[in-house]
């Protein structure tokens, strides 16, 4: 990876100046290149346009309709969007989604960084053992992990209550605890990838810089913040992006454990789209929620890309 970096940088430089993309190319060459480029892009673009772009456009159209299982009843204007302002379920969903992201993203990032720093200097066997263990919930699959947690947390037959002696405690059925268990399970399924990334990134940190700093009497903490941290910054940003997307998108956990309950305490915007469409049978409104969700995520991504660029 390290040896790839200069090549990437070299390739990118000329493209930084926008106008000069075609400098030194004749018009005929530009045309020929354009045609051949689109031929290469065609298969991929077909799938992208057919199954992402077109549904997205239709989704926006639907969001302005009064549309349920009885078909389209009429044009709703901005009514579906205005409903969002007064919809307590949506507000709960927004709150919970933000809470999940705000809690899960930093803890996943910090904890995976800690684990990686603890294991990356280990011998090959323990290192790959730990890396493997933390990655297992990812490959095991969200549904398998979710159903076993459902059993562990069952109020009457669940292991947690049996071990903790809290007979009958309904962890997933209590407003104050349900969301925290969702976050905990999300945490266990989110941490594998960041650890793999961090172990690789830390292994690539320039050792001569660390040695030089230590000769100068730098403490471990100083070495970490002054030398390692800047060098693993791109990895950190990437981890932040994928963890944020993961946290936004957790669906199986909620569908199989709580269905948004109790009393919307685990409702997320993501789940509300599904729930509004297929339980409440209100497709117009569901699409409006979806559009708002897409905008929120676009803003998040834009901010993260901005941060990535300035670094």
């Amino acid at each position: 990876m390290a040896q790839n970096a200069p090549a990437v940088a070299a390739q990118r430089k000329p493209k930084k100046q926008k106008q000069s993309q075609f400098s030194g190319m004749s018009k005929a060459l530009v045309r020929r290149e354009t045609i051949s480029a689109y031929l290469f892009l065609l298969p991929s673009l077909f799938f992208f346009v057919a199954f992402v772009v077109i549904p997205m456009v239709i989704c926006v159209v639907y969001s302005f309709l009064e549309y349920g299982i009885g078909g389209v009843q009429g044009f709703a204007g901005f009514d579906n969007y205005l409903r969002l302002l007064q919809d307590e379920v949506f507000h709960a969903g927004l709150r919970n989604t933000i809470l999940i992201v705000v809690v899960a993203v930093p803890t996943v990032t910090a904890f995976s960084l800690w684990v990686s720093s603890a294991i990356y200097k280990m011998h090959a066997f323990p290192r790959s053992f730990f890396r493997c263990v933390f990655y297992l919930p990812v490959v095991t699959g969200s549904v398998a992990i979710t159903v076993v947690w459902k059993w562990i947390l069952d109020p009457y037959n669940g292991l947690l209550n049996q071990v903790a002696g809290t007979n009958g405690m309904d962890w997933l059925g209590t407003q104050s605890t349900a969301l925290w268990f969702i976050i905990l399970i999300l945490f266990t399924t989110s941490i594998g990838q960041p650890i793999v990334l961090y172990v690789a990134a830390l292994g690539n940190v320039d050792q001569s810089l660390i040695e030089a700093a230590q000769v100068d009497g730098a403490t471990k903490l100083q070495v970490f913040w002054k030398i390692k941290w800047p060098q693993i910054m791109p990895t950190t940003l990437y981890v932040l992006v994928i963890t944020t997307i993961n946290s936004f998108q957790c669906f199986a956990l909620i569908q199989l454990l709580t269905r948004g309950g109790p009393l919307n305490s685990t409702m997320t915007i993501m789940y509300q789209v599904y729930y509004t469409a297929y339980t409440l049978q209100d497709f117009g409104y569901a699409n409006a929620i979806g559009v708002v969700l897409a905008i929120i995520i676009a803003i998040f991504s834009a901010i993260q890309f901005k941060v990535a660029k300035t670094d």
Binding site: V30, F40, A50, M122, S128, V143, V196, V273, G290, S301
Partner: protein, 289 residues
């Protein structure tokens, strides 16, 4: 990735009392957390061999006392092997198609200069984070329109359409030196031959990374499977089948754990066997421009 001899030397120079204490502390925490991560898997596998009495016991039974295959036999009363086949087929097909289309497209975006390139790339970046839930209603209608209702291709095709792969392959293609391509062209190779004989071999590690990504993500994409396949029991995937067993009136944990084990164990074995490629692939996936 290999252990660095320099690191060992450094450790000696700054080894202090607190550092040893910290190391013990770290090791203990690591092992505890590792046990916590392994436990659900252990509970799935042992649970799948417990009989009804042990499953419903109101005190912990750490290991099945009367191991039974009953749960698996009951699982096989459902078309569970068909479900397993479906999810494997979906994941492999999505993987192959994604790798093929994305490497072609990524090469064009990364190495060619053409009209509309900037706009296209921006759209792809924007669409990458878009959750499938947002577009599910029109997407499902589209699949019905194509006659793919409750057909496993209804899961495969949208997965291939997701633009992350294109983005990843663009990053990899950019590392291919232009001179090599020029040389091939001078030798009279056409566009496609240049791609397959020169570019593709050079971006192979990237394709491998994308393959692993796509396979795991497709396997775990419960949402798309739920919406697209729920109308026909023979089109279910194993995750969807398990969740359906849980939803039915006779939800019992022994049966569900057998299903979970059937879903988890094969892919875990694949993972452990190819662990090196998995981890390298994932790490490579993070190469960003």
């Amino acid at each position: 990735m290999s252990t660095n001899p320099a690191a060992v030397k450094v450790k000696k120079t700054d080894l202090s009392g607190t550092s040893t204490g910290y190391k013990v502390f770290a090791a203990v925490i690591l092992i505890l957390v590792a046990l916590f991560f392994l436990f659900p898997l252990y509970w799935i596998v042992t649970g799948s061999f417990k009989d009804a009495i042990e499953i419903n016991a109101r005190y912990p039974i750490w290991f099945p006392q009367n191991p039974t295959l009953d749960n698996y036999l009951r699982l096989l009363e459902h078309p569970a092997l068909r479900w397993l086949f479906n999810i494997v087929f979906i994941s492999v097909a999505a993987m192959v198609l994604t790798c093929l289309t994305a490497s072609l497209a990524g090469y064009a975006l990364g190495k060619k200069r053409f009209i509309g390139r900037g706009v296209l790339f921006t759209i792809i970046i924007c669409a990458m984070a878009l959750p499938k839930q947002v577009i599910v209603i029109p997407l499902l209608q589209e699949m019905t329109f194509f006659g793919l209702n409750n057909n496993i291709w209804a899961v495969i095709l949208p997965t291939v359409g997701w633009p992350f792969g294109v983005f990843l392959m663009k990053q990899f293609s950019e590392t291919v030196p232009t001179e090599i391509m020029e040389a091939a062209r001078v030798d009279g190779a056409g566009e496609l031959r240049t791609f397959f004989s020169v570019v593709f071999p050079m971006i192979k590690p990237g394709v491998g990374a994308l393959a692993i990504f796509t396979f795991v993500n497709t396997w775990n994409d419960y949402f798309l499977q739920l919406v697209m396949l729920q109308g026909d029991e023979m089109a279910y995937t194993l995750p969807l089948g398990i969740s359906n067993l849980q939803g039915e009136m006779s939800s019992d944990f022994g049966l569900i754990m057998a299903g979970a084990a059937l879903a988890a164990v094969p892919i875990i074995i694949v993972f452990i066997a190819f662990q090196k490629y998995f981890t390298q692939g994932i790490a490579m996936g993070a190469v960003k421009g």
